[in-house]
Every structure is written in structure tokens, then in C-alpha cells.
């Protein structure tokens, strides 16, 4: 690691006042930042430790229904929270399938969605041709090893995916990321947090320098929801493809489906066309469900080695719909 200066923010004011200085980063759980430092992906001059901030790790019910999750809440605490597990099982499951128990005791719900891609070229111990690491150096995955890379939203500048399981679940739940900044915070819709590469692949998300996610808001409840994560080994591995589904059911009929695919693009990919087509469909009408999913997947753009991800994504979404519908009370 390159040297850096380190300080503890005593309160949110101090964090924000210092946060947008040049070459300054925030440290929450550290489970990404320390690896960025070791890889040279981040070379900050100053690190602001948020550990002493109080009041940002609570999980509270909102007056109108819904939940507010403090950004510094540890992943395990969020997943195992009774309200989260009961009302948003897709989020609880997504978290519990992330990383390992030890990492989930450190990582925070506000930090996890900001994790960077797992593209092997980006994560190499040397700086390889990678526009995300060094704009203009090229995209090695475009014509290289891309079996795990994007099938939506990529550009010739970058074909990486965003791997966060919780972010995928939060997308299906239409969550809001609540931020603070010394010039004023905002509420960012889940679908707007991550950015697609376009010709600015070095940018991962919509946050400004010095902008801090302080909480995540969920409205309503999504009791018929489920998260499915596909990988070669059973645990402690990033997804090849994942699917987060939240259903509003009336009897066995789908009133509304919300489906987000993970690890298929540089953001959780909502299947808007499929969602429209699923309105009114019976939850066990496999044929109709598959036709609906086709409506979204027909837009997939594959690379040389990842065509299988389209079939996998479709089947994962279909299975997740079945699992979500089957949740019994």
C-alpha cells in the first residue's frame, strides 16, 4: 500500500467537512477499501474512518410503513434483523449469500453496494489494460476472457459487471439510498446509483466526491420475495448470475413483479418488459412466465464467451419467481 494519513471522524459533520477534499476516501467496513489499497486501485492521501459515528447503524420502522436501515449497519445485523427477514426476505437472503460470515461482520450495508467489479483484469495485482483502472488503456475483457462479464449495458470501453448481491435485492425493492454531502444530501433511487460504462468506465456510481450514503429506505413490505445466487461452489463466491424477485400476489395471481438480475451488467438489471408482461399472470403459469422473461432477455448483448449467461439468467429469474411465490406465512 502507498502511505496515507488516517483520521477518525467524530461525527457526521466532521466526516462531510473533510470528505470532499482531494484524494480523500471514507472507511466504513473496510472489506473493499483495504483490497483497493493493496491493489493500487485507490491511492488516497487521506482516509477518514467512520467507525465512531453514532446513530448510523440502526434499523428503524418508518411511520408510513417501511424500514430505514442505517448505512453503517453491519451486513449480518441487517440480514438477521427480524423486520428485514420477515418483510424483505430477498434482502436478507441476498446478504446471507454474500461473502463470508467474518466479512459480513465487518462490511456495512451502505458500503457494500459501492464495491467494485470482480472483473479479473480490474482485480489483477498488476495494472492490466483496463479502462476502469486507467482510462484509455483499453478493455482486456472485451476480446479476452469474458465468460463472467456483462450481457446488458456494456460498451466497447468496458464489459464489467457490478457484483453486489444486496444492491441487486435493493433494486428489486425500489430502495432509496439516502445521502449526505456538505452541500446537501439527496435520495437516490436504487436504479440510479450505479452507472453504466458508456465512455466513462472509470466511474462506478453517481456519488459525488465527499458524498456519503447514510441510510437506505424501503417502503411497503415484500414478503413474497426471494434471492437466488448461482455459482460453481456453494458458498463464499461471487455470482455468475443472480436474481432478486419481489411479487405482489393476489391469491395465485401476480399483481406486480419486480425482478432484478445481478452480475449481468454494471448495475442490477431490472427486467422492465418482463415485469409488465407478468402483470395478471398466474404464478404457476411457467409458459407465460418464460415468455415474459424472453421479452426482457431478447435485448441481451452477448460477448464471445458468455452467451450461456442469457439462458442462466432466464432460468434463474424463473426459479426465483417460483421461490418468491412459494413463501408461506
Amino acid at each position: 500500500m502507498q502511505s496515507f494519513d488516517y483520521g477518525h471522524a467524530a461525527d457526521i459533520g466532521e466526516a462531510l467537512a473533510n470528505g470532499d477534499a482531494p484524494n480523500t476516501v471514507f472507511l466504513a467496513g473496510g472489506t473493499e477499501l483495504l483490497n483497493w489499497l493493496r491493489l493500487g486501485v485507490a491511492k488516497p492521501a487521506r482516509v477518514i474512518d467512520l467507525a465512531r459515528l453514532k446513530g448510523f447503524a440502526d434499523i428503524t420502522r418508518l411511520p408510513g410503513g417501511g424500514l430505514r436501515i442505517g448505512a453503517l449497519a453491519r451486513l449480518n445485523d441487517v440480514a438477521l434483523n427480524d423486520d428485514v427477514a420477515r418483510d424483505y426476505p430477498v434482502l436478507s437472503q441476498a446478504i446471507l449469500k454474500s461473502a463470508s460470515a467474518q466479512l459480513r461482520n465487518l462490511a456495512t450495508i451502505g458500503g457494500n453496494p459501492l464495491q467494485k467489479t470482480r472483473c479479473g483484469y480490474f482485480r489483477a495485482e498488476e495494472t492490466l489494460p483496463c479502462n476502469k483502472r486507467k482510462l484509455g488503456s483499453g478493455c482486456s475483457a472485451l476480446k479476452g476472457i469474458n465468460d463472467k462479464h456483462a450481457i446488458f449495458g456494456w460498451s466497447e470501453a468496458c464489459v464489467a459487471t457490478q457484483p453486489s448481491d444486496p444492491a441487486t435485492a435493493l433494486s428489486a425493492l425500489d430502495a432509496l439510498y439516502v445521502t449526505e454531502h456538505k452541500d446537501g444530501g439527496r435520495r437516490i433511487k436504487a436504479e440510479d446509483l450505479h452507472t453504466l460504462p458508456g465512455d466513462t468506465p472509470h466511474i462506478d456510481n453517481a456519488l459525488r466526491d465527499g458524498e456519503l450514503i447514510v441510510g437506505i429506505e424501503l417502503v411497503g413490505a415484500a414478503r413474497h420475495s426471494a434471492y437466488l445466487k448461482l455459482r460453481e461452489r456453494e458458498s463464499y463466491e461471487f455470482a455468475i448470475v443472480s436474481a432478486a424477485v419481489a411479487l405482489d400476489l393476489e391469491g395465485d395471481r401476480i399483481l406486480r413483479a419486480r425482478i432484478a438480475l445481478g452480475s449481468v451488467a454494471h448495475k442490477p438489471w431490472r427486467l422492465n418488459q418482463a415485469e409488465s408482461a407478468l402483470s395478471g399472470v398466474a404464478a404457476n403459469d411457467t409458459a407465460a412466465i418464460r415468455r415474459a422473461l424472453d421479452a426482457s432477455l431478447v435485448g441481451a448483448k452477448t460477448l464471445a464467451h458468455n452467451a450461456y449467461k442469457v439462458r442462466l439468467a432466464k432460468n434463474a429469474a424463473e426459479r426465483a419467481i417460483r421461490l418468491a411465490a412459494a413463501r408461506t406465512w
Binding site: 502507498q2 482485480r123 495485482e125 465468460d147 456453494e234 463464499y236 439462458r311 442462466l312 432460468n315
Partner: protein, 727 residues
């Protein structure tokens, strides 16, 4: 009676408390930390170094390059070196990740930061890159291998006219099977601590062979071996990758000499992908020709594996076909594909490990074609003598192993059609297991003390196989002591020379030396007690004539003779045992898998491993070894690969996130292990052979065979990932 008892590991306490020290845990006063700079390209030359920024990093003491390193007086060639190329001796780059500079720092942080600040200019040259893994491509690119010291078997063998018999066979299978390069990834990254006192070197290293390192470095530095002491009390997993000498050992020693301070190098996980070997990409073409009943008339087996430009490492997969089934004719060939890649090396399990992936898949395809039970096809081709040489087996109870394994698994009563379990389709598959028997000369001393304790001294290694328990059991057995009263001191070239801890050779090799040393002690004690050595027995701390009820306490005998301790010596010379016999270990593995076709998932449900290996000294540690091997086989089948980018000439993911090895959740509890009651008297005095690698053979084929049974898809390219299974 200690031998055969499942006594708990004697090294239990030190390992569960963290008291066992591995090389990276050791320090020396005034020590420097060494971190390497590695070449980011596969071929070319280093033109210039700019050390300025690195040296400006606080705490960085020195940056060493080939311009600083002394040239050794001898050229290295062959084992104990892993390859005959020592980096930092010239400006040539032969593979990506080759070390090209070494930063020495007062702290780890300084050395690591400094290593990233060394500016290097390179002149790339066109690299030879691996061709596409198609038989047609490899057939063109492959070369007859050259022996630079890494030929452990013959690259070509034939008996009869296999090609002709294959063409004429009533039933024929010809198929190509492949597996990608994959890395050992022991949990302990290799480490070395080098200290000089004058011209005497002490090297602490994570190794499988302290004597190999001693001999190699002594030759390299042209100093007498007695001036090189190598110590390795515990190695944190090896699996073949720490068996030979890799560059960091010599380079750390050279660096320590240059700066006149101890130097400790702990390789990073990324370094583990380029400094050391791996099991290379292997593509195999199998031809099986049989009659309508399945009796083999011809076996052809052609293998091409990837190797470096420096040496031809040959993965002798053909040994499987050479030794497993009776056949009238066989033709076997091994060739090398050379490229600017790191040098491969043996990996648990080598040789038959890859060989059985191809052979046992081929046999299953033949069984399917014939409509016979896969187990019956194996039995129909059982070899009562070595198929290649006709030599008798030293011992072989594979029939019993097949039978008991089948019984434990329920093989004969399995439902013919694949069953369902929710979204899972269940498949069953089996394969034979096979491993050669490597034996190395060993020596040991045993000292018996009047207080009824004993100490074993042997320069063997602890890599987790159970040596620290098994050798004391052997002594306890001979001297009538509790195992807990016997201590093993190992891992130091100051101790009697023992063989390497690889090739599944330790129990039978070092064990035999220890047995002889213990018998020597008993003989000496017997004479003190006026007994003939051959008629003495020791039980419960007493010595007597065999069969007698009363014995004399050890202390009494020794006190009477005025001795406080008795030292015995023993040796194992493989040449004295089993000449004229073919020695192998055998087995059968039966697996049940679940396949979720929609999601492309493959999961292991249960396994039975049934083995013919000779005497088992400790069933507890043996079970762990065999289960460990099976899990290695599962990893090979279902997930392991180290993707290689040809444009950049490097392994892409040099970490444990982009490369998958099995986790706890992958492995079911339902793994039954059975070892047939057997004593192999020819192979060595212990009566047993090795088990460390056998469990890892056959598994990949059994899994692919089970997948075929479940979903009717024949996968011939490992690993069997969702990409290959998704409907």
C-alpha cells in the same frame, strides 16, 4: 498394539492452539523483509531499472536486481530444483510473473510499498503462447519431450499392435479429454528465512524435502552440504508444490549474503501463481478397443501437456493405461507443448490423477456403448499381473475393494433410471483409482530412555499427513510404550537423512527406517537383559521372551547395565525390497451427484471410496487423507481452473476469489472410506503403501460418469461448470 490404532494426532495440541510455528511465523534479529518485483510480460528482456522511488520509500534498505546478484558456480539442472532456470541472474524473462527484482525493507509495509515503486523498462519479444485446447491444434504444436531431469517414466511405450487392434475392434471408443491448468493453492504461502553465519547458511523453509533444499543450495553456492542447514518443522500444506526448489529459496539466501542480514520472504498469494508450479493444461486422446463382452484388445493413450520453454515437465498420464487393465496391446505417448509459461510440477494427484480422468471416462463410454454395468466392465478387464511388464503385483486386492465399495454404496441395487429430488436429478457414477508407489531411502534414530520415553530423530517433514503420529505409533508398537511417550523430532538436516514427503512415500519409507531403528533398540535392550533379539518382546514398558508372562521393567534392565539411554539406528533401502514386483495402490470410487439442469448446478451428495493399499498404521489419519483426496478430486471435477489470458500471457486471477477451490458447504458428510485388510510384505517392512494421493484419482471421471447418468450429457472437458450444464 499401537499400529492399526486410530489414536488422535500427537500434534493436536500445538495445532489447535496456534503454537505450531510455520516459516512465516519465525523471526531473526536484524531481519529484513523481502518482497519481489515480477515481470508483467511473458517474454523479453529487462532493459533498465530505476530504483530511485523505491529507495526513497521510508524503510526500504536495498533493491536487488540481476546486476547485484552473484552468479552461482554451478548450473542447476533437474531435481531437486523444480526447473533449470534461476531468475535474477540475467535480463531474460521467460514467463509472466517471473521475479526480476527484490526489495528489502525494515518493515513489511515498506518492502511492499517499495516493490510497487521500482520502475522497470522492458523490451518485449514475441511470446510462445498456448494454442487453443483442441486436439488438432495440439497435435501440430506438440513436440517429443526432452529429458532435462523431469522424466520420471518413459514417454513412449507399446505392446503389441494397438492401432491395428483398435481399428479391428468390434466396439471402439475414441475420445479426447481435457483439463485446464490449475494451481495447488495450499493455505500456507511459501516462505523462507535465510541467515548466514560466515559461510554457513541456515534456511528455514516451507518445504516437502529439507534434504533436497540442502543439497540443491549447497551445489548452487558451491559450499559443502554440511554448511547448509535447512529446517522445516511444519509446512502448511504442500500437495506437491513445495517438493522441489523454487526461486525464492535461493534468492532469499543470496540476498541475505549480499546485505549481511537475515532475510525473510513470504510469498504473496499472487506470487504463488507464478513463482511455483501447477498442474498444467493436459489434453488426452484415448482409444479403447474391445470385443462384444468388453474385453479390451487395445488401449491407445496420447497425452500432450503444457510446459515451460526451459524444461519439459511431463505429466505421465499414460501410466494409468499402462497399469490398470489387462489388454493385449497398448500404445502410449507423451508429448510437450512449450510456451512462455511458468514451469509446471506434480500436483495431488499427478500421473494417474489426470490419466484416470481420461481412461475412466473412456471406460464409462465403452460400458454405455456395450450396455454393460460400468463395474462389470472393470472386472472383466482386471489385471492379475502388471499389464505392461507381466510382473506380479507385490499385493493387489482391488477385487475386494470393488466389491466392498459397491456393497457400501448400494451400487448393484441402484435405480437404473435417474431419480429426482425436487429440482435435482440424481446420477450415479464410478471409477477405478490407481497410484504408483514411490519409495525413497530413509534413515532414522530412536533413543529409548530409562524413564520409558523415546525420541525419534528423522529428517522427514510434517505437511499434515499424520507423520508426527504414525512414526511414534510404530516405535510404541515395537517398544511396548504408549504412543504419548514417544516424540518425533523432524524437519532438520541435522537429523538423519530421510526421503521427501511426496509421492505418498513417507509411511512406508521413513516408517520402515523408524521400525528398523526401534527394532535395533529392542535388540540392544534384549542383549542387556540376556535375551536373543529375535526372541524378545516388549509390552507395557517391560521386556521379556516372547510368550512369557513376566517381563523386566526397562529401567531395571538399563540401570543394571549402567545405561541411561539406548540408541538404535535404522534405514530403509528400497532396492532391498520387492525387486521384480510391480507395486501400486488401487481402489474404486462411487459417487452420487445432483444436477439442477435449469440452473446448471452440480453438487455432491455422497461418496464411497474403497481402497487396496496394504497395512493402515492409523485409520484415523488415513481416513482424513483419503477424504482429503476425494475433495481434491471433487474440486478438479466441479470447479478448479486457473484461466490463462493468451494475449497477456498470464494467469488472469492470481487470488482465491477468481479461482475456486472447494468450501465446507460443498462437501457432504456422507463420505464412507473403506480399506481392505491387507499387508503388502513385498513393498517394505511396514506392509503398507501410500494413501496421500490415491483418493484424488478416479473422482473426476466418476463425477462426469454420474453427470452422464443423470442428464445424458457427456462432458469431456473439466471443470464441469454451470456453463457446460445449463439447459
Amino acid at each position: 498394539m499401537s499400529i492399526g490404532e486410530p489414536i488422535p494426532r500427537i500434534d493436536g495440541s500445538i495445532k489447535v492452539t496456534g503454537a505450531a510455528r510455520y516459516t512465516a511465523d519465525l523471526r531473526a534479529p536484524n531481519m529484513l523483509h523481502g518482497v519481489f518485483v515480477t515481470a508483467p510480460l511473458p517474454a523479453g528482456r529487462v532493459i533498465a531499472f530505476d530504483k530511485g522511488h523505491a529507495l526513497a520509500e521510508p524503510g526500504v534498505v536495498r533493491v536487488l536486481t540481476h546486476e547485484d546478484m552473484p552468479r552461482p558456480k554451478t548450473t542447476i539442472a533437474g531435481p531437486p530444483f523444480a526447473h533449470s532456470f534461476l531468475p535474477l541472474q540475467g535480463d531474460e524473462i521467460r514467463h509472466e510473473g517471473q521475479p526480476i527484482a527484490m526489495v528489502l525493507g525494515e518493515t513489511l509495509e515498506a518492502a511492499e510499498a517499495g516493490a510497487r515503486k521500482v520502475d522497470v523498462r522492458y523490451a518485449p519479444t514475441t511470446a510462445k503462447t498456448p494454442v487453443a485446447p483442441l486436439w488438432s491444434e495440439l497435435d501440430r504444436a506438440a513436440l517429443a519431450p526432452k529429458n532435462t531431469g523431469y522424466f520420471f517414466f518413459e514417454p513412449e511405450f507399446s505392446k503389441g499392435n494397438a492401432d491395428q487392434n483398435l481399428a479391428l475392434a468390434k466396439k471402439r471408443v475414441e475420445a479426447v479429454y481435457s483439463q485446464p491448468s490449475r494451481h495447488h493453492n495450499p493455505m500456507e504461502p511459501s516462505a523462507v528465512l535465510a541467515l548466514w553465519e560466515g559461510d554457513a547458511l541456515t534456511l528455514y523453509a516451507s518445504t516437502q524435502h529439507v534434504y533436497g533444499v540442502q543439497m540443491g543450495l549447497a551445489a548452487l553456492f558451491a559450499i559443502p552440504p554440511e554448511r547448509v542447514r535447512v529446517i522445516s518443522k511444519h509446512t502448511g500444506g504442500a500437495f506437491g508444490v513445495k517438493g522441489l526448489i523454487w526461486p525464492q529459496e535461493a534468492l532469499a539466501a543470496l540476498a541475505a549474503k549480499i546485505v549481511s542480514r537475515p532475510v525473510r520472504v513470504v510469498l504473496s498469494r499472487a506470487n504463488m501463481y507464478s513463482f511455483l508450479g501447477y498442474q498444467p493444461r493436459i489434453v488426452q486422446k484415448i482409444g479403447l478397443g474391445a470385443d462384444e463382452k468388453g474385453a479390451l484388445a487395445a488401449v491407445t493413450h496420447d497425452v500432450v501437456n503444457l510446459t515451460s520453454v526451459t524444461d519439459d515437465f511431463i505429466e505421465f498420464a499414460t501410466e494409468a493405461s499402462k497399469s490398470l487393465y489387462a489388454t493385449r496391446s497398448m500404445r502410449l505417448s507423451q508429448r510437450a507443448e512449450r510456451a512462455h509459461v511458468a514451469m509446471p510440477t506434480a500436483m495431488r494427484a499427478p500421473v494417474e490423477g489426470p490419466g484416470l480422468w481420461a481412461l475412466e471416462s473412456g471406460m464409462d463410454e465403452l460400458a454405455v456403448d456395450l450396455g454393460v454395468d460400468p463395474l462389470d466392465l472393470r472386472l472383466a478387464n482386471y489385471a492379475d499381473a502388471d499389464p505392461a511388464t507381466g510382473a506380479p503385483w507385490s499385493s493387489k486386492k482391488l477385487r475386494e475393494a470393488y466389491e466392498e465399495g459397491a456393497r457400501l454404496f448400494g451400487w448393484r441395487t441402484r435405480p437404473p433410471a435417474p431419480q429426482r429430488d425436487g429440482d435435482w436429478v440424481i446420477g450415479h457414477g464410478m471409477a477405478s483409482c490407481l497410484m504408483g508407489t514411490f519409495r525413497f531411502p530413509s534413515h532414522a534414530h530412536v533413543t529409548l530412555r530409562r524413564d520409558g520415553t523415546a525420541v525419534i530423530e528423522a529428517g522427514t517433514q510434517d505437511i499434515g499427513t499424520g507423520t508426527l503420529t504414525i512414526l511414534p505409533q510404530i516405535v510404541a508398537d515395537v517398544l511396548g510404550l504408549l504412543s504419548s511417550k514417544v516424540k518425533l523430532t523432524l524437519g532438520d538436516t541435522k537429523l538423519p537423512e530421510a526421503g521427501p514427503t511426496y509421492g505418498s512415500s513417507s509411511t512406508m519409507g521413513v516408517g520402515a527406517a523408524v521400525l528398523a531403528a526401534a527394532q535395533d533398540v529392542r535388540g540392544k535392550l534384549a542383549r542387556l537383559a540376556n535375551l536373543l533379539p529375535e526372541e524378545a518382546a516388549m509390552v507395557d514398558g517391560r521386556i521379556s521372551r516372547t510368550g512369557a508372562t513376566e517381563g523386566l521393567p526397562i529401567a531395571d534392565v538399563m540401570d543394571q547395565a549402567g545405561e541411561s539411554e539406548i540408541v538404535g539406528t535404522g534405514a530403509f533401502d528400497p532396492a532391498q525390497h520387492g525387486a521384480g514386483y510391480s507395486m501400486r495402490t488401487f481402489g474404486a470410487v462411487f459417487v452420487e451427484v445432483g444436477v439442477d439442469r435449469a440452473l446448471g448446478l452440480l453438487r455432491l451428495r455422497r461418496v464411497v471410496g474403497s481402497y487396496s493399499v496394504g497395512r493402515i498404521v492409523n485409520p484415523r489419519t488415513a481416513r482424513a487423507q483419503l477424504i482429503g483426496g476425494i475433495v481434491w478430486g471433487w474440486g478438479m471435477a466441479a470447479m478448479e481452473q486457473s484461466p490463462f489470458d493468451s494475449a497477456l500471457g498470464r494467469f488472469l486471477s492470481k487470488n482465491l476469489a477468481g479461482v475456486a477451490i472447494p468450501v465446507n458447504a460443498d462437501i457432504p458428510s456422507d463420505i464412507a472410506i473403506h480399506c481392505v485388510e491387507e499387508i503388502d510384505e513385498k513393498a517394505g517392512p511396514i506392509g503398507g503403501k501410500g494413501i496421500g494421493e490415491l483418493g484424488a484419482t478416479g473422482v473426476a471421471a466418476a463425477v462426469a460418469n454420474a453427470v452422464f447418468h443423470a442428464v445424458g450429457k457427456r462432458i469431456r472437458d473439466l471443470p464441469i461448470t454451470p456453463e457446460k450444464l445449463v439447459a
